[in-house]
């Protein structure tokens, strides 16, 4: 049943979501995009919409994917918006539930012992993995759905990606404005 499978996926995303929103994208890819609940293109669009709207990317993606995955279920049983809203609510609650309980019941213990070798070792081990998770999310998104299929499209896309990367790395321009500018440029050249 689609609701239980979505809840299970989002519980895992919440429980293993170390390293912030971008690292969480790798988990979402593996749990949601790979099984085919949403397409690669929709996934990138959610990330784009998340960047342009307030709130954390983890919440934004759970809400959006909960709605879209349920209403597009191949069985067609849940196409009504009511089911979509239920999917949104359940996914959003599922992604916050494990950290909610952990923060309340284990957080103070971990914070008190943050100088112990065990806790510092765990976080030291997680750090390079988190970098790898963000890198994998970037690699997974460098695909035909996002860069186009014909060579002129691919070249234009690489140009936009290069310019955007320079803008976020070497200037203090906020990511929202990078996306707005890229959208305007897309309107002009595609």
């Amino acid at each position: 049943m689609i609701f239980l499978r979505l809840i299970w996926s989002y519980l895992k995303i919440g429980l293993f979501g170390f390293g912030g929103g971008y690292a969480m994208l790798a988990l979402i890819e593996n749990e949601i995009v790979t099984p085919g609940w949403i397409t690669e293109r929709m996934f990138t669009d959610i990330v784009a919409i998340s960047q342009m709207t307030p709130g954390p990317i983890g919440i934004n993606s759970a809400t959006y994917i909960g709605y879209v995955a349920v209403t597009n279920d191949p069985s067609g049983m849940f196409a009504s918006p009511i089911w979509g809203i239920l999917g949104s609510v359940l996914c959003t609650l599922a992604v916050v539930l494990p950290p909610f309980l952990l923060v309340l019941y284990a957080g103070h213990y971990v914070a008190r012992h943050h100088d112990s070798a065990a806790i510092r070792g765990i976080f030291a081990g997680l750090r390079p993995v988190v970098v790898g998770l963000i890198a994998s999310a970037a690699l997974l998104l460098m695909n035909k759905a996002n860069f186009g299929e014909t060579s002129p499209d691919i070249l234009k896309s690489i140009g936009i990606a290069g310019a955007s990367l320079c803008a976020v790395m070497f200037t203090k321009i906020h990511p929202i404005w990078v996306i707005v500018a890229a959208g305007a440029l897309g309107f002009l050249i595609f």
């Binding site: 979501g17 170390f18 390293g19 912030g20 929103g21 790798a26 890819e29 593996n30 790979t34 929709m42 669009d45 990330v47 784009a48 960047q51 709207t53 307030p54 709130g55 990317i57 983890g58 919440i59 959006y64 879209v68 959003t92 916050v96 950290p99 909610f100 923060v103 957080g107 914070a111 943050h114 065990a118 806790i119 070792g121 976080f123 081990g125 390079p128 988190v130 970098v131 998770l133 963000i134 890198a135 997974l140 998104l141 759905a145 996002n146 860069f147 499209d153 936009i160 990606a161 990367l165 790395m169 906020h174 990511p175 929202i176 990078v178 996306i179 959208g183 897309g186 309107f187 595609f190």
Partner: protein, 206 residues
């Protein structure tokens, strides 16, 4: 224990929800952008906590998986009003982005984008920019985590195996578990010596 206990309790729950609702509604990008605004509201404006208490709670929120902005609202709500406070604060943080994204999901369907040539062109421009926005934190987080020549193979192998989409080895959960276990084993056995951090604040991965 806290100054806040003298305040009217029901109204504080409402204020807690309202404050975090405002924070959720007006901060873009989540995470660190949200933390400084939460600090301003909680410490400077409402005087619910002093700065030291806030930094202690931030350390708790950072040490756990999940969404940092939600975690910090849970610990602040819990510190002020217990379980009910943590639920009120967490709902406040979640609600604005939930409502906005739900509206977008209902009205901006994938078909709306593909059937509209203007939107199609705009999104064709936006998608490569989004990829760039995820490449940038790879570089900044590698620098912040002190990844050097000796350790850069770890993120490289992790990224390539997840990217491979092969069964089992492409699951990120595997590497999160392995990373934590290896770090714990190597450190407690004294195989790797970590520099002692005074505050532990920079310890949590960002």
């Amino acid at each position: 224990m806290m100054k806040s206990e003298s305040k009217a309790k029901g109204s504080q729950l409402r204020t807690l929800f309202g404050t975090f609702f405002k924070i959720g509604a007006f901060t873009f990008g989540g995470g660190w952008a949200m933390i400084s605004i939460i600090e301003r509201e909680i410490v400077d404006k409402h005087h619910w906590l002093d700065k030291r208490d806030f930094l202690d709670l931030l350390a708790v929120a950072q040490s756990m998986p999940g969404i940092l902005a939600v975690n910090i609202s849970v610990v602040v709500g819990d510190k002020l009003r217990g379980l009910r406070g943590s639920i009120a604060a967490a709902l406040g943080t979640i609600m604005p982005s939930f409502l906005i994204i739900l509206a977008i999901a209902m009205f901006l369907t994938p078909e709306t984008i593909t059937s509209n040539p203007v939107l199609t062109a705009i999104f064709k421009g936006i998608r490569p920019a989004v990829v760039a926005l995820i490449v940038a934190p790879v570089i900044s987080s590698a620098k912040a985590s002190g990844i050097g020549w000796k350790t850069c193979w770890i993120p490289a192998v992790v990224a390539l195996l997840i990217w491979s989409k092969l069964p089992v080895v492409s699951n990120p959960i595997l590497y999160i578990t392995l990373g934590g276990l290896c770090g714990w084993y190597l450190t407690t056995r004294g195989i790797i010596a970590l520099e002692s951090s005074k505050s532990g604040k920079e310890d949590a991965s960002k």
